[in-house]
Symmetry: C2
Subunit: 457 residues, 2 copies
C-alpha cells in the first residue's frame, strides 16, 4: 500500500484527473486474459511523455514498482502489478502522429489500438500486417512489448519486423531514441530489437515508428476440411512445400471445431477431424497463380470438402469460426492451460501426432489450433483445477510437450511471451548461463528492479 503522500505527489506530477486509487479502478486494472489478479496501489493514465517521465521520477524516488499497461489483454500476466505499485495505462496515448505515404511509415503513440492503425494504413493504400487475435482491443505498445504475431505472420513476419524506431524512457528518467526511420541501420547495438519483446521490463516506450507495406489489392480465402488430424497437418506442409506462399495457414482440430459449432448452435459433420484456412493475397495475377498452385494441392490431398470465399462477407463468415475458438473452448472446462509452442513447420505433423497421443494416453482434453504455417501450435489443455489428478496429469503432459518442442528446435512461446505464466518453463529453453545474461541485461536498464518486476525470469 502506498500512502496518501505518494498519491499526492503523483497527482501533482501529472494532474489529479489522471491518478486513481479507488478500489474499483485498482480492481479494473488488476487482471488480464490469464484470469490472475494483482491489485496495484495506484493507476495512472499517461497522456503524454511528460506524464511518463513524471511517474517514473515518483516511482524511482519511492522505490515503487511501475507496470506499463496497454489494453491488458495479454495471456501471460505481463501487465499485472505482481508487487503492487503503479500501473501506468497508455490507452489515452492513442494518437497516430503521422502516416507517411511517401516513406511507408507511421509514427504512433503506444496506446493506439492495432486495428485502428491497420484501418488508417488501409485508407492510405498501405498495410500494417501484424494481426494478433486481440487486434480490435490490443495496443501497439502491448504488441511491441510482446512482439505480437498473428495468422498473417507466416508470410509477413511479426511485430518486430515492422518496428523501425522506438522512443522510450529508462528508469533513471533518461529518454532514448532507438533505431531510425529507415529499414537499414547498423549504427550501434540494436537496442530497438532488444526492447521489442522485452515485456515492458527494460524501458517504457512512448513512441513507435513502424514500417508499412503497399496494400495487397486482392485476397482469397479457402477452408479445407479433413477426415483426420494428420491429413490436415500434412496438407499445411504440402502447401508450404509447393511454394504457394499463402498469407495465412490456420489449423483447427476436431475439439476446436466442435466447441465453436456448439457455441454457434450449428451441427458438425461427424467425419470432420481438422480444418485448414488458407488465405492467398497479392495482385490479381499473383492471387490467380497462387490459387492454381493451391488447387493442385487440394486435388492431391483429397479433403472431405472445401470452400472458396471471395467477397469480404464470405471471408468473414469463414473467419468467424476461427475467431470464436478462444471464447468457445473456454466453455469446455473451468480452466484452459494455454500454450503457444512453435516448432519448425516440417515438424508439425509429428508434433501434432505426439500431442494427440499424449491426450489419449493421459485422458486429457487438449484442443489444438493455430498458425501452422509458421509452426505455431496453440495447445490448450482444458482442465478442472479442483481435479487434482487431472491437474497433475496436465503437468506431466506439459513437461513432455516442452521437452519435445525444444528437441525439435522450437520455442516455448511464439506469441504470448513469458510474463508470469511461463516463467516456470524458461529452463526448458534456456541454460543457466543464458538466464543469467537476461538478468544482467535487465540490471543494465533497471538496476533497482522497479520496472514490471517479477516477470520473465
Amino acid at each position: 500500500m502506498i500512502g496518501k503522500k505518494v498519491l499526492k505527489e503523483l497527482a501533482q506530477a501529472v494532474g489529479r484527473e489522471k491518478v486513481f486509487a479507488e478500489s474499483e479502478y485498482l480492481l479494473s486494472y488488476s487482471y488480464d486474459a490469464t484470469g490472475l489478479e494483482y491489485l496495484p496501489d495506484a493507476v495512472v493514465f499517461a497522456e503524454n511523455e511528460e506524464d511518463v517521465a513524471a511517474v517514473i521520477a515518483v516511482c524511482r524516488s519511492h522505490g515503487l514498482p511501475l507496470v506499463p499497461r496497454g489494453a491488458g489483454v495479454g495471456y501471460t500476466g505481463g501487465a499485472l502489478a505482481v508487487s503492487g505499485g503503479v500501473v501506468l495505462v497508455f490507452t489515452r496515448m492513442n494518437r497516430i502522429l503521422s502516416l507517411d505515404r511517401e516513406n511507408f511509415l507511421a509514427v504512433v503513440e503506444p496506446g493506439v489500438v492495432t486495428s485502428d492503425l491497420q484501418e488508417a494504413a488501409e485508407k492510405a493504400g498501405l498495410f500494417y500486417p501484424p494481426d494478433p487475435a486481440s487486434l480490435k482491443t490490443s495496443t501497439i505498445g502491448g504488441n511491441v512489448a510482446e512482439n505480437a504475431g498473428g495468422p498473417r505472420c507466416f508470410k509477413y513476419g511479426v511485430t518486430g519486423n515492422y518496428v523501425l524506431g522506438l522512443e522510450a524512457f529508462l528508469m533513471n528518467g533518461e529518454k532514448v531514441r532507438l533505431g531510425a526511420e529507415t529499414i537499414k541501420n547498423v549504427a550501434g547495438y540494436d537496442l530497438k530489437s532488444l526492447l521489442v519483446g522485452s515485456e515492458g521490463t527494460l524501458a517504457v516506450v512512448t513512441r513507435v515508428t513502424v514500417r508499412l507495406l503497399p496494400l495487397p489489392p486482392c485476397r482469397l480465402l479457402f477452408r479445407v476440411d479433413f477426415p483426420a488430424l494428420e491429413d490436415g497437418a500434412r496438407f499445411v506442409q504440402r502447401v508450404i512445400q509447393a511454394h504457394v506462399q499463402p498469407a495465412v495457414l490456420e489449423f483447427m482440430d476436431r475439439s476446436s471445431l466442435q466447441a465453436v459449432y456448439s457455441y454457434q448452435g450449428l451441427a458438425l459433420d461427424d467425419r470432420l477431424r481438422a480444418a485448414v484456412l488458407v488465405e492467398v493475397d497479392g495482385s490479381p495475377a499473383e492471387v490467380a497463380e497462387r490459387e492454381a498452385l493451391l488447387k493442385k494441392q487440394l486435388d492431391a490431398a483429397r479433403p472431405l470438402h472445401w470452400q472458396r470465399a471471395e467477397t469480404f462477407a464470405e471471408q468473414e463468415a469463414l473467419w468467424a469460426t476461427r475467431r470464436n475458438i478462444s471464447p468457445a473452448i473456454a466453455k469446455l472446462k473451468p480452466k484452459k492451460i494455454n500454450e503457444d509452442i512453435v516448432v519448425p513447420a516440417g515438424r508439425i505433423p509429428e508434433m501434432v501426432g505426439f500431442i494427440d497421443g499424449l491426450a489419449a494416453e493421459y485422458g486429457l482434453c487438449i484442443v489444438l489450433f493455430g498458425h501452422f504455417g509458421d509452426g505455431n501450435i496453440h495447445t490448450n489443455l482444458m482442465v478442472d483445477p479442483d481435479d487434482a489428478g487431472e491437474m497433475s496429469r496436465a503437468e506431466v503432459v506439459l513437461d513432455k510437450i516442452f521437452r519435445r518442442v525444444v528437441e525439435f528446435g522450437g520455442t516455448i512461446s511464439g506469441e504470448h511471451g513469458i510474463g508470469l505464466s511461463k516463467k516456470p518453463f524458461m529452463h526448458y529453453q534456456f541454460s543457466p548461463v543464458e538466464l543469467e545474461l537476461f538478468r544482467r541485461i535487465k540490471k543494465v536498464f533497471d538496476p533497482d528492479n522497479l520496472l514490471n518486476p517479477g516477470k520473465m525470469f
Copy 2:
C-alpha cells in the same frame, strides 16, 4: 607482443598447424578494405567450436585481445586487431551443415562464403536474399557481425531478417544458443538480434541458422538513364510510390558512371547524369505485372534512354557497371572517404541535391551511388590526404552531411557498421545516455574488454 609461452599454449590448445606468428601471416591478417593496418600478435585458424573455446580460454587467462575475422573485407576496420592479440580466422569453418528444404532453413558455420550459401540454396530451389557487394568473398559470420545489406534488401530485408538462431561463445568461455529454428519466438530477451550487427564485440559466433525463401522463378533487369541527377532520384521515388515493389533499385551518379566507363574503356554519353537499375522478380505473372507498372513510370519520367535485360548474360552486363564502381572510383583520387548514410526514401532527392550542392560549394569530388530504394546512399568523398585544405573541407562537408542525415530520421551507417572509421561520428546519432547503454551492454558480455576491443564506441 606475446611471448613464446603464450604461443605454445595456443598451439597446445588447438594444434600447431592452426597457429601462426610469422610476420607474413601477421601482415596478411593486419588489414581490411579500409586500408588501415594493425599487426596482431598471432593468427589462429579455427576449425571447430572446440578451437574457439580453447582460444578464448588462452586469451582470457593472459588478458589478450581476441578479434574474430571472416574474409576481412569490411569497410570500417571491424576485423582489425587495434590492440594486438589474437586474430581468430573463421575461413576454415566453412561448412554448410544442413540445408533443409522442408523447413526453409540452413545451418552454417560462420566461415561459409555468402555466395556459396546462395548457390547451395538455389540448387534446392531456395533463396538467401542478402547480397552485400562483397558476397563472393564475404562470410556469413562477417555478414552477421555487420548485419550486412545489399541491393536486394530493399524488398527482402537485411541479414538480421534471415538469422533465426545463433550459437556463440561468451568471453567467460560459456556457450549460448540464442533464437530458435522458427520465425516466431518470443521467449526471453532477443539476444540473437542484439548479437546481429554487434561487430564481434559481444560474443564469438560459431553457428548460424538462417531462414530461406522459395526462389523467385523470374527476374527482369532494367537500366534507365537520366539527363539530371534529380531526375534519377525522383524516378526512384516514383517507382516506390507506384508500388512496383522491385527487388533492386540502384542508383549511379555521373561521377560513378564516368569512372566505370573509363575503367572499362568505354565512351560515355555527354548528356548522361544518372542511371538507375531496377530489378523486378517473382513468378512470370508477377514479373509481367511489375513490368507494366514500371513502364508507366518510364513513360512519365522521360529518361534519355532505357534498356531491358532478360537473359542472365544481358543482366550480368548491366550489373557489371554497378559492380565496377568501387574499384573504378578508387582510381580517381588517392583516398576515398566512404560513407553509407541512409535517409527515409522520400528524402533522397533532397539529400542528393544537398550533397551535390556541398560538393560544388566546397570544390570536392563526391561520388554518389547506392541502394536508393531503401534510402542507402553510398557517399564517397574522393580526396588527397596530402592536400590539407581538401581534407579539412571534406571534414566540414561530412559534418554537414551527418547532421542532415540525422535530422531526416536517417542513420550514419546502413551497411558498413561503425568499427574504427565511424567511431568519431557516433555522437551525431546517439546521445551520451545511449552511448553509455552500449558500454554497459558490452560490459555484460565482455567485462574485461578483450573481445574486439576499441570498436564502435
